[in-house]
Amino acid sequence: MFRPSATGLTRRERYEAQQRRRALIVASASTAGVVAALVVLVPLAPGWDKVRNSFFNAEVFAKSFPKLLEAFWVNVMIFAWCAPAIAVLGLLIALARDVKSPALFPLRIFGAAFTDIFRGVPVILTVYLIGFGIPGLGLPRPWNSPYIWGSLALILTYSAYVAEIFRAGIDSVHHSQRAAALSLGLSERQVMRDVVLPQAVRNVVPSQMNMLIALQKDVSLLSFIGPVEIFRQAGVFKSLLANFTPYVGAALIFLVVTIPATRYADHLMARQMRDRR
């Protein structure tokens, strides 16, 4: 017989609450088990002492961490000026690939070639080629700075990817939106600017977040042409101290930034999936 409970919960609610409690206990127990196994078993490995000394050395960590943090600031700055430039250039390239006017056909070719080339070439080669190559043509200081040309290499490469994502976003806006806007008398340009692009950009925000996270990591490639960012700084410590712990420190700093960003991108992606349903 059905009896309403004193707590005011229905039978179903009480059942679900009980299920939730059970799930929580099982999940906690299994997680604790795995962690305990790792903590107990890994140190039993014969080489653990050497590995710990090489990768997880507290003394080396303490010695290198402050300078790594300082060097990370270089990454942050390079990232900060690259990201907006990439967004703008990526959008322009995406638009260039969609122009219909025959007079602007060269622009279209350029857009296609740009995305093909910069997506096809390894980033590090672009960084070397532009970072050493263009200054090598004889530019005066400070215009031959590796910061400028290395950043340009990142901007070009990432714009190519970002442009393709923007294009996918433009394609994802239903053609009936264009028809409706055209039927009101708007020009093609106005339709693109006022109706298609705002929706396209919003649709691709999660994908572009992932590009930002990738960019944050690839900023380190600039270390190959001189800037002492976190990866190079860690490498210097590694060489001097003959110890890999500085790389672990650098990884931790990266994770502090990228994990929240990744979670946020996933959250946006999930919300978008919900909205589409």
């Binding site: 590995v51 190559g133 002492v228 490498g235 001097l240 003959a242």
Partner: protein, 271 residues
């Protein structure tokens, strides 16, 4: 007849192996019995190894390696060359070489993780400047104003920071070739190398560049002494050290240096 010959050969083989085991400290201590596996850089640079071919024994380090091997009782054909990066040399775990020779400066920190032989060469640090800075005077004050570069994995980095202390942050690179490119692109004025490398780069690689000065070896907090690198606790170390000591005593090491390394006396000291 053929049986006789086979017997004679096997007796011969046994006796040579036995003689080797009795007479040489390295017996049974190498990766492969009867062979000495030596690692160098990839690529290996002039003047340390000529033409990136250490097997030929040409270049200072290649010649030193063969001389040490001979002292330890290994014939030239028993020396096996492999390549290794700096990271491979210091990572924990078993190594794929008995000895590693690629201008490793001996430092206390490194010595905690790996073993070094006694030094086989003392290389002062030298200043290489590009064409645009070729007339910089060899004084610390003038050097401070330059834009500096160095290879990030070398002891040039702390030396730069501690002794020269340049006014703007130095740029650091992955290897000699990249420093070379940065000087050519006029992104840096000067770079710090060990003297033989600096002389080579200036003479052969970077047009218009010049070695304007060297630091006296005792001036730095890291005396730039190159040692052969071995796995931490390597049983070969006493054997290698004995071999080097013998080469020094006989003057053979000095002879190799004279043969392969340019005369460094013409480079002024930086006060």
């Amino acid at each position: 007849m053929s049986k006789m010959l086979a017997f004679a050969l096997s007796v011969c083989a046994i006796t040579t192996t036995a003689a080797f085991a009795d007479g040489h400290c390295a017996a049974g201590k190498t990766l492969t019995d009867g062979k000495l596996t030596i690692a160098t850089g990839n690529p290996a640079y002039f003047p340390w190894v000529l033409d990136d071919a250490p097997e030929a024994g040409k270049g200072f380090e290649a010649a030193v390696a063969f001389a040490v091997a001979a002292e330890m009782g290994f014939a030239a054909e028993d020396v096996v060359w492999v390549r290794s990066s700096f990271d491979e040399a210091i990572q924990p775990g078993a190594k794929n070489f008995d000895l590693n020779i690629q201008q490793y400066s001996i430092t206390a920190e490194r010595d905690q993780v790996v073993d070094f032989s006694e030094p086989y060469y003392t290389a002062p640090m030298a200043v290489l400047v590009g064409a645009n800075a070729a007339d910089t005077p060899a004084t610390l004050e003038a050097l401070r104003a330059l834009k500096w570069g160095a290879v990030g994995t070398t002891t040039a980095v702390p030396k730069l920071a501690n002794v020269i202390a340049p006014q703007s942050d130095p740029l650091l690179y992955g290897d000699n070739a990249d420093v070379n490119a940065a000087i050519t692109a006029n992104q840096i004025d000067a770079a710090l190398f060990d003297l033989p490398t600096a002389l080579f780069l200036s003479a052969v690689m970077i047009e218009g560049s010049k070695v304007i000065g060297q630091f006296a070896p005792d001036q730095s907090d890291n005396p730039d002494q190159f040692g052969m690198l071995m796995e931490e606790g390597s049983p070969l170390k006493p054997c290698v050290d004995d071999a080097l000591a013998a080469l020094k005593a006989s003057g053979a090491l000095a002879g190799i240096e004279a043969e392969w390394l340019q005369d460094t006396t013409g480079v002024p000291l930086i006060e």
